[in-house]
Symmetry: C2
Subunit: 432 residues, 2 copies
């Protein structure tokens, strides 16, 4: 029986995992698909380098053409990373009628729409489950499992590094810098952690999720992004007092055909299922009109989990090949993209204000809110030791973002307000 | 464009949900599949009965042949429940070349293997996502999302009624009978709750999960079952003291090609993700060799969640129809079924013993364990008020079931032991 031949672009941690799974699980793959699968060629930078997997030197190449234009190869698996050059390789591969599986969120966030339409034009599959939340089969669940439902909201912990950092800060009460250093020492954070801690990595994944879940052309620029680098241990300790857990949450929601996509440090009630997702784990919470609440939890990264997602996609491609139905999986967006304006983005907000501890200060502050029709869910006031200041912590009921921003500006101008120390979005409180 | 026509067997809560979703989400379904879908005929017991959904009387029938032998109908959706008669209807439908979607766990647990092979013989799809854990797309995730991985263990909270009861007992410290009555009043438990509280419902779902996850012919009789009706509030309060949460857990595990499937009240560390699955929610925790730990969480029952799963299956059938690839989804089991014998089933155990509060009692008891090579992870001893008895609570390290059962028998014969009050399995403690 003819084997299906696979070419790899890249042989780093994920690539090595893919080679290992294809070898170790050959029996299961063969049983599922009905024919053997073989890795044929692997693009690497350096042929002589020692590898984590056993692979013969003849299979390695430094010439990308040996993979993407190799007539023996049916499926190209892209695990090299990068955006511009990699995009060109995948365009070339698709035009050469190779099916493509990629784990590359950066690429899919920016060029996903283009690549999917090139794949369809060429009758090829392009699968990218591994690009969001590593080992969690979330894209497949959105496309197939919840196929009949209308998804109204997704909330995701989709970056393991920041979840590790916030978990440690919460559990140990440690400061951000300290935990970041530990995460770097443990290899959970890069030496330049910007992309993780500033929320960019999460934003890419949310763009991909929103595009799929809402069936719209969501661009990376449509995602509003705020990272965790300014989160203090005080913020976390005050939010704990009020029963909240701080997480970096990607939010995508749709209302009356208009969407909002944001990534920001967000407070969740301690009892919310996402609040219990700790350390480097990822999870995506999905609200569907009919199904209600579901959550998908698992490892967001790592060699073998990510490789599992890649090889599961490969199985999908191979099944389609055997059935002769490739290239029909990408569905064009159903809706025109419409973004919510700040008047239509409603959320609860947490604020920490240091104010002068004097008569009337509190009512000065609260009247600013009531003038804009914003009411409070929780209020905590405590004196700040050795000062004539008080710490006021407020959680508002739902308010329009435009109103909230105006209130913030006016608060800063108020003589009794020393400083608005921090504000965070609050989610998951009762009704969505 | 030709519409795809659907016939329903049953129009109860789930059936009404299916009709509603097909109506409400017509646009999305049309967009995904490329043709309209219409409900054509519905088998009911009583045509005159008032319905929760708007449906014309002409579409209702009391004659099953109008659905399963109707030449206009492409897909039969079975949401009537029942086993023997329903099995015959579905066999007839498949032989009449109708694709089948069913939400019937009782049926699939007993006749799943037979029905799937009849479906394959007739070139028909038979999908049953809704039969396990209602709105959670778990079967699909096992088959597709984790396709490339080797699943070694699944732990599921797959019965909402018992999870509701145990959650209330845990949170409020209430007694079993009291909470059961409340659950019945709220409609979470049937007036005859046996199938739920004795674990039979969960056992059916675990048989289906194990069959799919381990690719073996698992029969319902292979599942060892113990319900929650003998769980006391004292058991729960002692397990809480030791840091555990009590859940009715379905466990399916594979080791060296041999499997164990069990449903029993089980103690999980409070920090385990399953321990946070509360009220009537369901969740399935899956360990794969490569992916590690993943969890799928959502509503386990209810009209619309279950109907979502049914209609998502329907979308799968319709996509296959459009591609002309029906009837190839059922994969014959890869492995011969091999069950573990009690010497090979290893688990930790929790025991509550009331013993005479006298010199040597404790060492009498513990030496029974050490003779069989079973050591302790946690021990708690407390006097029982107004008696000369002590309460001894033990959590063992992992022990073979055969050894544990022998110890239990000998404990009962020991003069210093007044009574072994309860024993529970302990899971989720570190390594799987």
């Amino acid at each position: 029986m003819k084997a299906i031949h696979v070419g790899l672009l890249g042989l780093g941690t994920v690539g090595s995992g893919v080679v290992k799974i294809i070898e170790d699980h050959q029996d299961k793959l063969m049983h599922q698909v009905g024919c053997p699968v073989q890795v044929k060629k692997v693009l690497v930078k350096n042929i002589e380098k020692d590898r984590q997997v056993h692979i013969s030197k003849e299979m390695l190449t430094t010439n990308v053409e040996d993979v993407i234009n190799n007539p023996d190869i049916d499926v190209v698996i892209e695990v090299m990373g990068g955006v511009e050059e990699t995009r060109q390789h995948l365009v070339d591969a698709l035009k050469a009628k190779k099916h493509v599986v990629t784990a590359n969120k950066d690429l899919m966030a920016v060029y996903g729409t283009e690549l999917l339409s090139i794949a369809t034009e060429n009758g090829c599959d392009l699968f990218y489950e591994a690009s969001v939340a590593g080992g969690i089969p979330i894209l497949r669940s959105l496309v197939d499992g919840l196929a009949s439902d209308r998804i109204t909201k997704m909330m995701g912990i989709v970056n393991g590094t920041t979840n590790f950092i916030l978990t440690k800060m919460t559990k140990l009460g440690s400061a951000y810098d300290e935990v970041l250093k530990e995460a770097q020492d443990l290899g959970y954070a890069e030496s330049d952690p910007t992309s993780d801690v500033e929320g960019l990595d999460a934003a890419r994944k949310m763009a991909i999720l929103a595009r799929l879940g809402f069936s719209m052309h969501v661009d990376l620029e449509d995602v509003s992004v705020k990272g965790i680098s300014s989160v203090t241990d005080d913020d976390i300790s005050y939010s704990k007092r009020l029963g909240y857990t701080m997480k970096l949450i990607g939010i995508a929601q749709r209302e009356n055909g208009k969407i909002e996509v944001a990534v920001e440090p967000t407070l969740l009630p301690e009892t919310h299922p996402l609040a219990a997702v700790n350390d480097e784990f990822n999870a995506v919470y999905v609200y569907g009109e009919a199904v209600g609440e579901t959550m998908f939890y698992g490892p967001g990264a790592g060699s073998l989990p990510t490789a599992t997602a890649v090889v599961s996609d490969l199985v999908g491609v191979m099944k389609n090949m055997r059935l002769g139905v490739n290239g029909r999986s990408a569905v064009a967006p159903q809706f025109e993209k419409q973004l919510k304006s700040p008047e239509h983005i409603y959320a609860q907000h947490f604020l920490r204000i240091s104010a002068k501890d004097q008569v009337g200060a509190f009512s000065n502050i609260t009247s600013l809110f009531s003038e804009r029709g914003v009411s409070f869910e929780k209020i905590l006031q405590l004196p700040i030791k050795n000062s004539n200041l008080a710490e006021i912590v407020i959680v508002t009921h739902k308010a329009a973002q435009s109103d909230f921003e105006e209130i913030l500006q006016r608060l800063n101008d108020l003589p009794v307000v020393e400083e608005v120390k921090s504000t965070y979005r609050v989610e998951g409180n009762g009704s969505i």
